[in-house]
């Protein structure tokens, strides 16, 4: 079994996730895209673990999952808070940083 294929698949998924973050305006969909990118990274980690014959990659992937879970919890809470005040989940509405 060729590990390279897995890694290429991970790259493709990562790129699609990146496009999702940049193109979609719904904050929740953006979050999904970020999750997709994290999953792509995880796939690469697991594939490299297989290639190297160690379990370190799997452990790191596990930690990534934990961090992703925490991130999702906080991110969704922020989206909730924004939605409450702005009545929208569109990321373009939150543009107070504009100069």
């Amino acid at each position: 079994m060729d590990v390279t294929n897995y890694v290429i698949l991970a790259a493709i998924l990562f790129s699609i996730g990146a496009v999702g973050v940049l193109v979609r305006r719904n904050a929740i969909v953006m979050f999904m895209s970020i999750e997709l990118m994290l999953n792509a990274a995880n796939l690469a980690f697991v594939a490299f673990a297989q290639a190297n014959g160690t379990f370190d990659g799997q452990v790191v992937a596990f930690f990534v999952m934990v961090v992703a879970a925490a991130e999702v919890v906080i991110g969704l809470a922020i989206i909730m808070a924004i939605f409450r005040t702005r009545k929208t989940a569109s990321i373009d509405e939150a543009n107070l940083l504009r100069a």
Binding site: V21, D92, N95, A99
Partner: protein
């Protein structure tokens, strides 16, 4: 004559004693009037009832104590008369130490007696003169403040503490010139005196700084000890800076312009501050700095030059003034010019400078009080052309004024004869030019003083219709009489048995002048010049004087009426020049300094508006930028690896 006895040269004795006994309480001299000032100025209207009396009592008590100390001092041998009292360490920074100390020696004793004595008389006179003034409590408070500051000036044992008193009298002078607050002219005069005095103060402070740099001390004792170590340049510069300070305080050319305007103040103030005491502080400063001037002939020459120019300029202005107080003020300028000139002569002149200062204190203060009495009688009219023929109505005023007149003329045996003739002799000893200047000044003095007294007390009546002249009350006439007695006797007393010479010589040093012309001949020439001046005035003014000042006069008269264009010169050179400098610096500030700052600001603004375009506020734009960055990094990594 007694005073021509040949004295051998006497050097100053640099020896100070720690004050003991009653001298340890000499701070009371200053404290008493200071308490008076504080009570009156801080006490508010509740001191209205007893304030003026308290204010008279304080300097009078000081005077009593000063007389007691004087008698004590007379009992001491000459070497032990310089008493030094250090109250506490004032400034103690590394090697720079200044004590808060007083020095009572024959020189400052003379001043203390003059200030407290004449000051007390003028306080008494003010009781009558200011009787109807609603703000007299304030007036007396300021007057006490002045006495305290002036005593601090002459009693300080170092230049820094002297400077405190110097500024204190400046403040009191400012407050008293502007005492009639409702008069804009008084406010302007006060401001002018203040500003011009600041110019002089810069000179004095530069002198003190230079002393510290050169000698690391500012005490009189320390300076006289170390002065010989100073280079000629340093001594000359210190001398010049001290002279600038003295010129500011004593209204000497080129800082003379404030004194005539200062006559806006109440007349007792003009008598005390602007005739007898404060304006002579410059002379005190020069005499006190004898250790500096004795070592720098160049600085002495500068002092002589300033004195000679001022005595002639003052006399010239005095000839043209119709305002009685301004004429007297011009005379004061001129007489102080004599003193400064004498002080510039070195050991041969110091004693005569002080002697003339003391006699002048009597006769000029007396004449100012006389002028005040006349004004009091004539509804505060100051124009002599509205006076005339007052001698019969105001007998006492006329009598005392006439005594002062004879004294300033130098008619023997009145006070001025002793002091002024001695200055003329000493001036001839130094140089013919200085001698001729003093001689000429004496003649002009005789003319304008005769003119003044003739227009006021003789010639025809030129009164305003509502004028009802009358003699002033006792509180005003008694001080005038006392001062007149001083004007008669002080010259004789001070020279009798060389009293002042032997009294002051341990402090200032002394050397007998040896004029190139025989002294009796010189006296005769002087008296002839004076007589000539008197005769010219009698011819012009005895019968009649014009009620309105004639306008078709020579340019010299016009110039003298305008104070020899002193104000115009100040305005043209310093004010306009200053404005030009300010305009130029403003332009530089606007174009260069502000321009560069604004340029940097504009660059920042331009750059930030460029950068701002990237700040859309859209999260997705920022994310895109990050992604581009990541892609570029990867590209770089790939390129480097390839």
């Amino acid at each position: 004559m007694g005073y021509t006895l040949a004295f051998e040269a006497i050097s100053p004795i640099a020896n100070t004693q720690v004050a003991t006994g009653s001298f340890a309480y000499l701070w009371l001299l200053i404290a008493l009037p200071l308490i008076g000032a504080l009570v009156l100025l801080l006490g508010g209207s509740r001191t209205n009832s007893f304030g003026p009396l308290l204010a008279v009592l304080m300097p009078a008590t000081s005077f009593g104590f000063a007389v007691y100390l004087w008698l004590q001092m007379l009992g001491l041998p000459k070497e032990l008369r310089s008493q030094n009292l250090v109250l506490f360490e004032w400034i103690n920074i590394g090697s720079f130490q200044v004590p808060f100390g007083f020095q009572l020696d024959p020189l400052s004793m003379s001043f203390v007696l003059l200030i407290t004595g004449v000051g007390s008389l003028i306080h008494i006179y003010s009781l009558g003169y200011m009787d109807h003034d609603p703000g007299k409590r304030r007036f007396f408070g300021y007057l006490n403040l002045f006495v305290a500051a002036m005593l601090l000036l002459v009693l300080a044992d170092n230049y820094l503490l002297l400077y405190v008193g110097w500024e204190g009298v400046g403040l009191a002078s400012y407050l008293l010139i502007g005492y009639y607050q409702h008069k804009p002219s008084a406010a302007a005069a006060a401001k002018k005196a203040f500003v011009v005095n600041r110019v002089g103060d810069v000179g004095l402070s530069l002198a003190i700084m230079l002393m510290f740099v050169a000698f690391h001390t500012v005490t009189f004792a320390g300076i006289s000890e170390k002065a010989e170590q100073g280079s000629a340049t340093v001594l000359f510069l210190i001398g010049i800076f001290l002279l600038i300070g003295a010129a500011g305080k004593s209204a000497q050319v080129p800082l003379q312009s404030w004194l005539l305007d200062a006559m806006e103040g109440p007349t007792p103030v003009s008598a005390l501050i602007h005739a007898a005491t404060m304006v002579t502080a410059g002379v005190y400063l020069i005499v006190r700095s004898n250790s500096i001037y004795d070592l720098s002939v160049a600085a002495q020459n500068a002092v002589i030059l300033v004195g000679a120019v001022t005595l002639l300029a003052g006399a010239a202005i005095g000839m043209a003034k119709d305002d009685i107080k301004k004429a007297l003020a011009a005379s004061t300028m001129s007489q102080i010019g004599y003193m400064v000139l004498a002080a510039g002569l070195g050991p041969i002149g110091y004693v005569y400078a002080i002697m003339h200062l003391l006699t002048h204190g009597f006769f000029k203060a007396g004449m100012f009080l006389g002028a005040g009495s006349v004004m009091h009688a004539m509804n505060d009219e100051v124009d002599m052309r509205k006076y005339g023929a007052l001698r019969g109505i105001m007998m006492i005023t006329f009598g005392t004024f006439f005594v002062g007149y004879l004294a300033i003329l130098g008619v023997p045996p009145f006070a001025g004869f002793y002091s002024k003739d001695l200055i003329i002799e000493a001036a001839f000893d130094r140089s013919i030019i200085a001698g001729v200047a003093t001689l000429l000044g004496a003649g002009i003095t005789a003319f304008y003083m005769s003119r003044l007294i003739l227009m006021t007390f003789f010639s025809n009546k030129r009164w305003e219709d509502d004028a009802h002249p009358h003699e002033s009350g006792l509180t005003m006439t008694i001080p005038m009489v006392v001062l007149a007695i001083g004007s008669v006797s002080s010259g004789f007393l001070l020279t009798y048995n060389d009293a002042l010479k032997s009294w002051l010589a341990p402090v200032t040093g002394y050397q007998t002048p040896e004029p190139p012309i025989a002294i009796p001949v010189l006296i005769a020439i002087t008296l002839a010049t004076v007589l000539l001046g008197v005769l010219v005035a009698v011819k012009l003014y005895l019968k009649e004087a014009a009620r309105v000042a004639p306008t078709d006069v020579s340019i010299f008269t016009k110039a003298a009426r305008k104070d020899l264009y002193g104000d115009a010169i100040n305005e043209a050179v310093f004010m306009r020049g200053g404005q030009q400098v300010v305009n130029a610096t403003t332009a530089v500030d606007n174009s260069v300094v502000e321009g560069s700052v604004n340029f940097i600001g504009r660059i920042t603004l331009g750059l930030s508006s460029l950068v701002r375009a990237t700040q859309t506020g859209y999260t997705r734009n920022y994310a895109l930028a990050m992604l581009i960055g990541v892609a570029l990094l990867l590209l770089l990594a790939a390129i480097v690896r390839l």
